[in-house]
Amino acid sequence: MRIHIRSKRFPAVGDAGEKLVLENVAFEPQPGEFVAIFGPSGCGKTTLLNIVAGLDLDFEVSVDLNGIGRDRPSPTARNEPAIGYVFQTPRLLPWKTVEDNLRLVLPSEHDADDRIEAVLRAVDLQDARHVYPNRLSVGMSRRAALARAFVVEPDLLILDEPFVSIDSATANRLRDLLSELLSRLPTTVLFVTHDLREAIALADRILFLSTHPAHITADITIEPPRPHRTTADIDAFHKKLQTKVASVFRTGDRSE
């Protein structure tokens, strides 16, 4: 899989002129690799994900999603790679129960019940399968959103700051859940965050993005490799990186 975004501009709106958001962002996630994309808020991370997911078609880019090398046939009709997207907010359809939200994204009815059953058990939501999203707690909605992304058995899993604006205990449980789901179903992951420690805890590799326009300033592989990373390892690597981050973002990125 290869992503190369030469430039992405937002058109001029009102008094604000045209804005160059992304410039020359290129990287190649390996199959099964967990790539964290780290950068300050508003630097264009979500824009980058939307381009990869095919939601934003107005850019100069080449996104080559082929060769996410999996043996099983792609489940989508057009033989595209299946994408599981976990947005910043859960974005579950409120007029469908948890189960029906999952069923909707499955391309075929074939073995749908088994897949839904398995993934709901994995995120511990079997008892909430007939519940409407409005009645779920925040943590449960996030788990349901994770379940929806995993139920399609994605070739590419995209997560856009999925654990922001929830309490740290819930966020930690959800991070563990994500690691566990990934160990069951290895998937190429793009994970956007502005929490460096979270990126180190979960990813194989971190891409550092700068702002205005966003480009990759550093590409760091995390040691030691997943999944044998202890809290001490994470802390040590975090410390080491913080000095580096400080120098990378010295040019006033905290001015959001």
Partner: protein, 249 residues
Amino acid sequence: MLRWRPAYFPTLSVLVFLVIWQAAAEVADSTLLPGPLAVFAVMTEAALSGELLPHLAITLLRVAVSFVVAMLIGTAIGIVMGRSPAINRLFDPWLIVLLNLSALVIIILAYIWVGLTEAAVILAVAINKIPNVVVTMREGARSLDRDYLEMAESFRLGSRKTLVHVVMPQLYPFLTAAARSGLALIWKIVLVAELLGRSNGIGFQLNLYFQLFDISGILAYAFAFILVVQGIEVGVLRPLERRAHRWRR
């Protein structure tokens, strides 16, 4: 003992209306203002003699067909205009012309151009109603949540699944609003069309009673249809609405 509860208010309000009407009729004591009892007697008589039902049925059929046609076409055009600013700007002037064209003008032109046929009635009534449906559904289509559409796109739901499961549920409130105002508007227009160019239906009967100056007959037919429309509201529209809203907290 009956408690003073809002649940009784509709029944109470109808009763009060009927009592005032009956009292006014007693005071006026004129054939020009028959009371509800007299009107009800005429209605029962017409129903028992077998005269009322065929007229009611044919009017109801015309209402139903033009309602379905207007809702389908209006919804489709409304969604397209709501989603595409270019198409909206292109056809908005047409919409304004249609919205402000008198129902009577459309009916007369339809009868002249198409002939005194059922097709002309359906066409005229649908053309009268479609612009209202378009305006309501366009508003709905504009308010569609981008977040859900992005979700549908990223999971590659395809256009059919997106329309049925993501778009239409968001449009239900607008659809029921359009249906409700549509039903009321359409049956009024159907009566005018029947009066002008049909030889059966409630509108035709009203014309007959108008020539006979039979106010009881006119009111009997009018209220018979109000009862039917109210039946549709309670028996069809409300249950549908409850179903569509059961996910709300």
